[in-house]
Symmetry: C2
Subunit: 590 residues, 2 copies
């Protein structure tokens, strides 16, 4: 079955849940003409349904091939990529000075969800290019920008990120790839990188690699890492492609999912060293890399949302079509579709509610980053930047956890058919699995949330957000709408749990850091469950007076009563079980 972008849900989430409408009204979006939003998204949905979705199964089944040092993608993929850049989709949020459309990140965020939903393995390629654009635009020299940025923005060339080495995964500082000054301003890079997404492929003429490596005189650890731009083919002065550079795919991984996305081992220096150009300053590569990774983290969160939505749409269709048994309390020979069963309805509601909440959290992150970049008021910019930084780990980890949970529920709704690969439900589960691992595992996101967001500046960005959420809860209660059920009290309780837990963690970060770190993952879940519940409630309040809008009230209620309701237990888990976790060695190593 095909995929249809849920434009109504998306616009509600973007405008009300994520606050884009208010930001527009406050002038934070400058001269962006919001009239075009819906049209752009409708077009994106059409492209996704028509071009990308049909290639999703093909890509999973064919996978990719590495032969004679070259990666070949699945049938139809290079053509689809050319259609993608021809239609301008790669350039949505790129800088206008380099051919980009300069649309808000929030619009690009929706697009990212749509690409991931229609074809996650395809969407991964431009996601990485986008990170490369960010890093080059922020840190590259004018000369590097002149040669490479326009091609990356248009998508004529793709970008990659080369961080990981066998001994350096989450611990980037342990990397060993080395760079030597060539004397002409360029560098020669030697080393081997693993897990390089789209490290090689046949969809474009050139690939622009962004590679972390060490100079000979660099200090140890993360402070001695520099970022280099290494093109697959060197670029001549006239812009034409020159010599093949000394960076080659030497292996590809056999993975659980994302089969159509080549995951390469890249070898540099078999023929004298790869020619590289410094991006930013020597030994300041981590700074540049964080620019790439933050953008990528939001993008990965949106992959979670997209895969979840696709899994939901397919499960819903299956549940309406698959006839099996009869509705409870009815008799007769005629079978009913399985959606009549309360247990199936529960699974579908769970899928939809989780997806909607994760979507809004991701869009909220993008809106904050937009305001930080576009507002002319320094105080507004600073607050928005802090909000974006706070939301990024939640957007990444909560949404990808949701992607996994929803995709496995999708298999369950399909029953035995879900375990058969041709159904397609299992692919979403396989594809989603990497999203909670790459771009910083979800455990690392949780630690980032506790130590670098709650743990800095007195946790000001957390308290500011909680104050806003409290206003939503008040509005829900003030609505006196019985359709909300116990939503108000559930969200109020959740918010209180989140506040108490935040304070406990803040205190323990200083006095007993291991105990605070032990609670990082349940804390992030608590944050996401509370934030998501409030976001859906805000959307319900905005929607309920419109025709058919009451369905958003039921959805918000379901989330509050099934997911936000877990906040109290998560609070107790963070606080009570820290001892157990720190004493775990006695159990694990006995």
């Amino acid at each position: 079955m095909t995929y249809r972008a849920p434009i109504d849900d998306i616009l509600l989430a973007l405008n009300h849940g994520a606050g884009m409408q208010a930001a527009l009204a406050a002038g934070h979006y400058g001269d962006y003409d919001s009239e075009i939003t819906e049209q752009v998204l409708q077009e994106a949905g059409r492209f996704a349904s028509d071009v990308l979705a049909p290639l999703n199964r093909v890509g999973d089944e064919h996978g990719i091939k590495l032969e004679h040092g070259k990666v070949t993608t699945a049938p139809g993929w290079p053509d689809a990529y050319q259609r993608w850049i021809a239609a301008g989709w790669n350039a949505v949020s790129g800088p206008e000075a380099f051919g980009g459309q300069g649309l808000p990140l929030a619009i690009n965020a929706v697009c990212t969800e749509i690409w991931a939903a229609s074809n996650a393995a395809f969407g991964l390629c431009p996601l990485l290019t986008l990170s490369a654009i960010e890093a080059l635009d922020a840190h590259g020299s004018d000369e590097l920008k002149r040669v490479y940025l326009e091609k990356l923005v248009s998508g004529e060339w793709t970008g990659t990120m080369l961080l990981t080495e066998p001994q350096a995964g989450s611990d980037v500082g342990a990397l060993r790839s080395r760079a030597e000054r060539a004397g002409d301003g360029s560098y020669r890079i030697h080393g081997t990188k693993i897990f390089i997404t789209y490290g090689d492929h046949d969809m474009t003429d050139n690939i622009v690699h962004f590679v972390l490596a060490r100079l000979p005189d660099a200090p140890p650890g993360t402070k001695g890492i520099s970022l280099f731009l290494i093109p697959k083919f060197l670029v001549n002065a006239d812009g034409s492609l020159g010599k093949r550079n000394d960076i080659h795919p030497s292996g590809v991984e056999h993975k659980l999912g994302m089969h159509a996305s080549p995951t390469c081992t890249m070898t540099m220096g078999d023929h004298g060293g790869a020619v590289g150009y410094l991006v930013g300053e020597e030994n300041r590569g981590m700074l540049c890399m964080f620019t790439m990774m933050n953008q990528a983290r939001l993008g990965v969160g949106l992959e979670g949302v997209g895969i979840a939505d696709r899994a939901y749409q397919e499960a819903l269709t299956f549940a309406q079509e698959r006839k099996q048994g009869r509705a409870p309390g009815t008799k007769g020979d005629k079978s009913d579709p399985i959606i009549v069963h309360p247990d199936v309805k529960r699974m579908l509601m769970q899928m939809r509610a989780l997806t909607a909440a994760a979507r809004t959290i991701c869009y909220s992150t993008a809106v904050a980053l937009d305001i930080a970049g576009r507002s002319t008021d320094p105080k507004v910019k600073a607050a928005a930047a802090a909000r974006g930084a706070l939301l990024t780990p939640i957007a990444k980890a909560f949404s990808t956890d949701v992607g996994n949970e929803v995709a496995t529920l999708g298999v369950q709704v399909h029953g035995g058919m879900g375990f058969i690969e041709e159904t397609g439900a299992a692919q979403h589960m396989r594809d989603a699995r990497i999203t909670s691992i790459y771009e910083g595992t979800n455990g690392i996101q949780a630690i980032d949330l506790v130590t670098r967001k709650l743990g800095v500046n007195g946790g000001a960005s957390v308290w500011a957000l909680l104050d806003e959420l409290a206003l939503i809860v008040k509005d829900v209660e003030a609505s006196n709408d019985p359709a909300f059920g116990t939503t108000g009290v559930k969200l109020r309780d959740a918010l209180a749990s989140l506040e108490r837990t935040s304070r406990w963690l803040q205190e323990h970060l200083a006095s007993a850091p291991n105990e605070a770190l032990a609670g990082a993952t349940p804390y992030l879940r608590l944050f996401g469950s509370t934030l998501g519940g409030c976001a859906l409630a805000a959307e319900a309040l905005a929607a309920r007076d419109a025709d058919g809008g009451e369905r958003y009230v039921t959805l918000a209620r379901f989330f509050a009563e099934n997911i936000s309701v877990q906040a109290g237990a998560l609070e107790r888990t963070v606080i009570d079980s820290a001892d157990c976790v720190t004493a775990a060695d006695a159990v694990l190593l006995a």
Copy 2:
């Protein structure tokens, strides 16, 4: 890496958590010599480590082949199967009159876990044979038993269950395969069955199929279904194999996991009809089938436990070996193994605690079934049978949910390596996925728990169990052992939630059945989380005075503070969100 059966944990769970020691002391196990328990389990562990575990990856990678109407299993599998029957493992719990060892079901339950842990796809084959033995022993004629039972008990022939048809999955009553009386006491069967596990293979000379079909004059629905025994090869009067019967594998599925286990489409009647023999009475096939399925449901729960334990063992080893980053608060160049990180410890504890709880719930089910079958006191037998019936859906659904959760955590602990198939972590996740679907989806188990266990006899079996759990909670509190942390209060609260939720569901089953059914899945989780917490606490109380026994206190505490603590939220979910679920169509079908 290999698998080691965790004999200490297993014996503690069996003897104390599941109450086998008390049952032995009360004489419920008759003349069973419990001295041999440990020795049998040690031997099983050795066989699993030496013979089955090494074939697990081979099976996953090679899968099976269907060519020229015959299924070929992976290299080494037929040989391993012959070693398996030669060592007598197939006959562990089989009836002694037919060559079985007549050991308790509880011993076989442990073995089932061990086979699943070492090689889930292999273990599936004898699991089905065991169900076939049960049905034939309980319902077959003396003549059928004479010809087939000994061969099934020894494992010389394997057994299958043919229920599902394309239009008849969970709704078995919709099946259309037809049986005609041949006039000589036998029948001729025509029809097509799908999803037949080990429907064909090359590990034995013959396969004994148990097939549900309809007689021409049968009433519609489940009351018109009969069970037939259909051998792959007919058996001559002297016991030698005769003509090939008209039942053939016509297709095999390409599945997410369990690649080494052939899942066949079986066609009967292309050459005049498969010769079948009635098992039990005409039109009473569902009764026989339930005999098979109950045994199988416990077996599938144990698959969940086994896969979870294997995933845990591998993740633990990886976390001890993989060096990456440094322990929080330390400096220097030397990397530490990732197990130093509190977040990694949390994941491993979660894996171990969930596995241990599910294990004990499954063993408890087996002990109850043992007492029901072996005790000489009719009241004891009846109570034990009710207990076994109550626990079966929990053992199946909770344990397989645990299998999935633990396996996906296992991937997470491995980080990027977990997504690469050669690591092996992903296989456990893929293999586990079917366990929450087959032998009755977990949703169906939850409905069974609510309607056929809580909903019958005034819920007497539920109240009797809750009374026992309350005694454990009292003992925890009376211990005054600070190492238990907040275990006592967590379990007391959980028990209170379970009791209130049970009463609410009982009331609503009559007045608003759809609302009760809407809460079935969270209710089963609530039941499992409470029961599991109490079971681990009972084990901790029994173990804590022994050398190193305090680690079981930490484990019980972790479970109570991380999993049982969710009981209150699950109670609210069942009660508060029933409205939402019944109103879901407005959201889902908008």
